[in-house]
Amino acid sequence: MAHGPDLSLSIARLTFGGTVLYKDFHLTIAGGEVVALIGPSGVGKTTLLRILAGVETGFDGQALVDGRPAPLAPVPGLVFQDARLLPWLTCADNLRAVRPDVSDAVVAQALAATGLVDVQDKWPRQLSGGMQRRLGLARALLVNPRLMLLDEPFVSLDRVVVRELQALVTDLIVQSGATAVLVSHDPQDAACLAHRVVIIAGRPVQIAADLALDALPAQRSRTQIIAYEDRIETAMVESAL
């Protein structure tokens, strides 16, 4: 299976509202690696994701995806915190918004892969919160992304739905071989999904800890996940001191 792209992010300086958010920040991610960016709310995690998606360009420095500037790199599969579905389009048309050329069968297949059945003609508001996130995930997968960017994809969902979605996302990333960056403030998300956890903190933002999680995400037991979660939490507490 082909791996996703290598990522290299260098931010010489990024200011926001007069505050220096990032200064001399460097992060590299190997192809096929799943990296969780963890940090407190408001630290600037989503900003990093927006830079990698090619949406945020107002900074000194460069974001390279396989050596190419982020805005010119192939379309990433971006999963937004709020699902960001287009409410005026049916579920099927929400998928076609990013790939107008796909057949009905491919749309049905993408929906089925995320556990959605018989929703093609429904409107997004008719879906539950968990189903909306699944639809956002199906949309991201439809572009056959080599790079998956997930911005707090499980926030505001109940625990059962979060568990289901964490397992689904893990499977889908493993199947696709994509490089993935997950942004979250919850250590449990990282403990479930990531090969590596990067904890960021401070102003300007710095990498406070960089942890490798040995076991492959798809093969982790509950005990291992809980142990990883503890390890990440401890690192987070120490980075805040």
Binding site: V55, V75, L78, R84, L86, P87, L89, A97, V98, V143
Partner: protein, 263 residues
Amino acid sequence: MTPALDPRPAALRPKGEAWLGWASFLLMIGLWGGAALAVNSRFLPAPWAVIAHIGWLTNEAHLLPDFAVTLGRAALGFVIAMVLGTLIGIALGRSRWVDRLFLNWVVVGMNLPAIVIAILCFIWLGLNDKALILAVVLNKTPLVITNIRQGVLSFDPAFDEFARAYRLSRGQTFRLIHAPQLVPYLLTAARTGLSLVWKIVLVFEVLGSDSGVGFRVSLFFQFFDLKGILAYTLVFVAIVMLLEHLAIGPLERRLLKWRTDQT
């Protein structure tokens, strides 16, 4: 409340209450009939007399050609004003520079008395259809601009970010992201615009035209023909209601189906 006067979009009104709109209309006719019986019919002809008069005006006089002329003028003025107003409104909403430069013009346009614009157009271009339609367009366009500008300023930036992240083309972004967000504002501009255009066209026809509903009503006025005035008014109301129920309402329900559809 008649459906046309209900402030909620047609798609959001409860379906079971539709009969109330018609009951309201019948109540209005009933009140009119009662009042007509109570006063001198020369000052207030009864609705049945006016309806019979509509038949006579249609067969023996100029009702149909008059309405054809007025509707043609209103439709032309409406379409030009909607297209121009939409394009200018988008430009103002999208560019701060254009907005700063031209917003005052829109404010002036909104507040210039319609009659002044009409008189100036008639003086500059003569008493003809071109002047009349230009006057309608100049009156109506600022209202459309204001609505559309507001719509553009209300665009949700989160959807623009989605479009950029998924590298949607400009055409796709307009079709999938911007146009749907503009629809409610376009519908409001169309609905308020239609009611304004009717009134303006009629006033301008009274002022400087030798054809159309306004011209005919001014003739009825000179002969104190109240039955004629009310007959033309009733036909006018019927056309407005038909437009609401056969065109704008269904269009609104279709375009805003995503807000209410339960299937």
